[in-house]
Structure formats: C-alpha cells, structure tokens
Amino acid sequence: MAIFVNQNTKVMVQGLTGGQGKYHGLRNKAYGTQVVGGVTPGKGGTDVEGIPVFNSVAEAVAATGADASFIAVPPKAASAAILEAAAAGVRFVVCITEGIPAQDEAKVYNTLVRDYPNTRLLGPNCPGIISPGKCNIGITAGEIAELPKPGKKNVGIVSRSGTLTYQALYELKQRGIGVSTCVGIGGDPVPGTNFIDCLREFQADPETDAIIMIGEIGGSAEEEAAEFIKANVTKPMSAYIAGVTAPAGKKMGHAGAIVSGGKGTAQGKMDALRAAGVKVGQNPTEAGDLMSEIIKSIS
C-alpha cells in the first residue's frame, strides 16, 4: 500500500518535451514509474525516447489510460495545464512549477473544488510524491528513498519544503527505516493538497506505521494539522518546523514562508504540534532521531 499513488499509477507528463519535463519525466520512468505519455500542444505524434507525445491531455488519457499527471511547465502556462488535466478526468495532478501568481492559484484551487472534486492537485511549487519502489512523480531523487520493509515498521513523510523532504528521506535511510510514501505539498500559499489531506491518508494506510511532518513558517497549516492530529491521528509522529530564526515580514525563499503580523511563527507551530502529542525536533536530524525512538518503541 501507499497513499495517492502506487505501482499501477499511469502518469503522463505535461511539458514532456521541455527541459524540466524531459529530464524529470525520464528519471521517473527510469525509477520504474509507469510514464505512459506526454503532452505538448503542437507536438502530438512525436515521442520522447519512446514515450508518445499528444497534443492534449484528453487525447493522452484516451490513448494511454493515464490517471495521473506530472506538470512541468512555466508559471504562465501552469494554471491552464492543471485545469486541462482536471477537465480530462485525471485523478491526481502533481505540479512542480514554482512562481505561479497567488491569484491564479486561488482561482485554480476553488475551480477544482467546485467543478472537479475528484481531481487532487499536489503542489504547485512542490517536489512531488514518491512511494519507494512503486512510483515516483516529480523531482525527488529516487535513490535517497529507503524501500518500505515488509514485516517492519514504515514511515510516511509529508513536507512543505523540497530539500527538507530529501533531508527527511536521507535521515530515515541512514537509520535503515523504510518509507511508505513521501509527499511534498509545496511552499506556496494555496497548496492543492495540505497536511491534513496527507495525514488522513497516512492514518488509513496499513503500510504506514508512523509519520514525519516537516513544516515551516507562514500561514496556519501546521496549527490546523495539529488540531486534526489531536482528533484523528493515532499513529505516532515526529516533526520539524523550519524558520525559528526567520525575520518577520520577509518571504524566506518560498512564497508562503512569511511571518506577518506576529502570525505563522515556528514557535507557535511547534507548540501546537507538541500539544497534539507530536514529538518535535529542533532540527531535521533530531526529528530523525525522534522517529528512530518511535520505531523502536512500536516494533
């Protein structure tokens, strides 16, 4: 088991003929992901190293049965690409594009909620999702993800930051702890999938025994997650929040990572998570150590 994706997920890449799409799409395929097609308007009928390219998402879906999409197109084109995938009935859309205007994101999010409730958007501005050994959609280097181990305790990861997602994968690999699924929800103000969506899935996933959550300053997603954890998550968790020392009023690299009006501080988020029973580390390594202890205690 895994959440959102598995070995049967069929992925098409919107923007497969572009630099990013080609590089990461081929890497995903080499990892073992079923990358069944690509979409680039005007380039239908061609192929990228054997992967057929279509003019539209609808054509690609009809021809390949793709149920997931990987969007790697520039910010200007990303909103339309997401909505095109949703309109074609794609169930799971991963958008790695960084730099989409917040107004566009808010519109896309609410359009999906209203008109395409069966489509889940992951991102934008996220590293993607990997279920080690089964499916890798996005830019995560597959080799740093430890395979889930049958008969042992495995961990689910959900994170707002790309590099800290890798760091979390690496911390677990160092300790030989298997990963069920690792989801990067992205650092933008209006993510399509939030912590709670992932926590709900991890809680229900029989392969996931414990969860690591990595948050950062800005917004209130971690506080809302803490409320959800208190009421709904029984699996043990460790967490790390980046940005304790970030100055107020500055966007720290991610569009959503900003402390404004005294709200969205790392301290507030850590307090909320601790109050929900989550073990919070002061740095990613400590969060890994805490997870090690958790795994020992439940094994």
């Binding site: 808010a106 280097a141 890798y166």
Partner: protein, 383 residues
C-alpha cells in the same frame, strides 16, 4: 514587494480609486511646487516603509509655501526607526468627517479572498480586532465569483457604514478588489478610508504589497523594484538573481533550497551563532551560481565564516564540489568555509574537495549539518 505610500496611491489611481491630489518630491523645492499645485493646506508625509511616521514627526500639516518649505526641510533626511527619508509625498489636506477601514488579502486557511471592513478606521486595525472584534466585518469571497457591487454594499451595511457613505464605500470596495486581483496584490489596504464633509469617500492612505510571482505580467512594476529598500548586499544579490535576505550575524550562509536554507539559519542559532544572511542557491549549484553566491557573501564585511550547506537530491555532490573549487579560483575570500555536503554522490564530492589542494585554513568539510554549524560558529568567533 511592499510599495511606498505614494506608489500605493499611484497604483490605486490606476484602478480608479480616488486619492487626494498630490505628488512625490525628493527636494524642498519640489515639495513646494507640488504643494502649490495641490492647493493649501497640504500634508507633508515622509515616505518610509515603517509604522509610526506621525509620532516620529514625519507627517506635518502646512498652510502655505513657507511652512511647506520648513517641514519638507526637516523631514527629508530624517531617520525614522533606521529608515532615512529620501522622498516626500505632498497632498492637499482633506477635511475629514469620518474614518473607515478596508482591506483585501488572501485567507490562506480558507483559501479564499478576505474582505475586512470597519466603520472604525484611522487607528491600528489589530487593536480594533482585539478590543471590539464585532466592529470588523470579515467576508470571504470565492476567487472564482469575485466581488459584486451588491455584495460590497451589503458588507458596507453590515459594517455599519452610515447611509450617506454607503454608495461611495461600496464603489471603492469593488475598485479595491479589482486592484487586489487584477493588480496581483498580496495586500491592498486603505486606512483610513475617509468620508469628507462634501459626501465624497476617498483613500487617505495606501498600503499595497505586490506578489512578486506575478511580475511577469506587470511591466509597470519595474519602477517599484527600482526603489525597493534593499541594503547594498541585497542590491548585489539581486544583480546575480539570487534569493538573498541580509541579516545581522557573522556566519555567511549558502544552502540549496528554501527550507534547507531556513533550517541552516536555525541550526547556526542553536549552536550559539548568528547568520549573516539567508541565501538559497536553488537546485542547480553550478560554478557560476556558487561564485556569485560567494561574491555576495564576501561583500558582507560582518561575515567571519561561511557555512555552505548542500543536500544533493537531483543536484549531484560532485557537481557541487566542482562548482565550489572553480568558484574559489575566481573569488578571493576573506573568511574560511565550512561545508556540509550530503545526499547523492556526496562522497565523490568530498573527495574532489579534498584533492583540490585547498588549505584547511580556507575550507573544512564536516559530515553533518550540526557539526558543520558548530565548526562555522567556532571559526566565526575566532576559534
């Protein structure tokens, strides 16, 4: 990007939001010219992006050219909480009957636009929210639907805006919402929104924050970028297109990824040091990017050690190492580097650094983030 008041007012004017007649001035003579044109009495206002301008003496009323000259002369060059006043906004002083508050932001939790409207304006809205929360109407707007004139009017009624000001306020709300959405603002705020004895409603102040991600469709923002309050380090970083924020510590930071960069600042702090900056060099840490990053760090005279924190995912360790070696041959650094290189092909990367013949006084490699932070802080403290 935060706009100055005068820019916010100019931005408002693009969306037909009424503001007082006035203009920006960089000299005393210009201020008097603008005042003559706008009609006395005028208000002379310091243009700095910090609260409490009035208390600091940065906002003055002038009844004639002589008073304008006097106040402009005092305010230009004034230091308000570390911000030196270089520009004034001079506008015709309005007669005020009532003061309201209006703003649009994105409510990240609700994932909808949020209108906040109050009949109690002209004061700190946070204070109103605390003392009298019912005095603020909060209305969520679905970005797909937008804000209609009818809904705007209902909000104004709910906020107890008096009848005589309803039409004016409702119309400004619709225009301000257009400014917020089409103008790609993170925040569009009017405080105070005033009712004049003549019955007109208009914006007496403007607080606008723009979404940098939307700059590709706003060529008109170019002039705002030119006046952004950046320190010399941030200016240099901008010329290299680097994600840099200047801080006041002594450990220069270079990391790949925003989350990791934030985390690096935290870890340095945990082991007793202080970061000199936030710098995210992103995914592809090639020699050009690394050299540019080191140049910016080196420019900061407070930096006494440099902590390069790289986690190779897609970025490979050997590429990063090669980049650093090449960058070091181009930039003559004042401070020693501590590097933590981890992830994909990290061992090969460390090998390259070891064999590059860089003396240990210039570059030390540490296996973990914590150890590297400790070493960088110790070096920074002269140990």
């Amino acid at each position: 990007m935060d706009l100055f008041e005068y820019q916010g007012k100019q931005y408002f004017a693009r969306y037909d939001i009424p503001v007082s007649p006035g203009g920006a001035a960089d000299t005393v003579d210009e201020a008097v010219k603008v005042a003559d044109r706008s009609g006395y009495p005028v208000v002379v206002k310091a243009q700095v992006q910090v609260g409490g301008r009035g208390k600091a003496g940065g906002i003055k009323l002038a009844n004639n050219a002589e008073e304008t000259r006097f106040h402009a002369n005092n305010i230009l060059g004034m230091d308000i909480k570390g911000h030196v006043v270089k520009r004034l906004w001079v506008e015709h002083a309005s007669d005020i009957d009532e003061e309201y508050y209006a703003s649009f932001t994105l409510d990240r939790a609700a994932k909808k636009h949020l209108l906040m409207l109050s009949a109690q304006g002209g004061v700190d809205i946070e204070e109103v929210a605390e003392k009298d929360p019912d005095a603020i109407v909060k209305l969520h707007i679905d970005p797909v639907d937008g804000l209609s004139a009818a809904v705007a009017r209902t909000a104004a009624v709910d906020a107890k805006i008096p009848d005589k000001a309803l039409d004016g306020v409702a119309s400004i709300l619709v225009q301000l919402y257009r400014c917020f959405t089409e103008g790609d603002c993170d925040l569009a705020e009017i405080n105070p929104l005033i009712l004049k004895p003549t019955g007109e409603v208009h914006a007496l102040d403007a607080k606008v924050s723009l979404d940098n991600n939307a700059s590709f469709r706003h060529p008109e923002w170019e002039e705002y970028r030119a006046t952004e309050e950046l320190d010399a380090r941030e200016q240099l970083a901008r010329t290299h297109d680097l994600q840099y924020i200047g801080l006041d510590g002594t450990v220069g930071i270079i990391a790949n990824g925003a989350g990791l960069a934030m985390s690096t600042l935290d870890v340095v702090n945990q082991v007793g040091g202080k970061a000199a900056n936030f710098l995210d060099i992103g995914g592809g840490a090639n020699a050009d990017v690394m050299a540019a990053a080191l140049e910016v760090i080196n420019f900061d005279q407070n930096v006494s050690s440099i902590f390069i924190n790289i986690f190779g995912g897609i970025t490979r360790g050997e590429e990063v190492a090669t980049g650093i070696v090449e960058a070091l041959s181009r930039v003559d650094l004042r401070a020693p580097i501590v590097i933590r290189l981890d992830g994909t092909n990290a061992e090969q990367g460390r090998e390259i650094l070891k064999n590059a013949g860089i003396p240990e006084s210039k570059l030390v490699s540490k296996p973990t983030m914590l150890e590297a932070a400790r070493a960088a802080v110790a070096l920074s403290n002269g140990k």
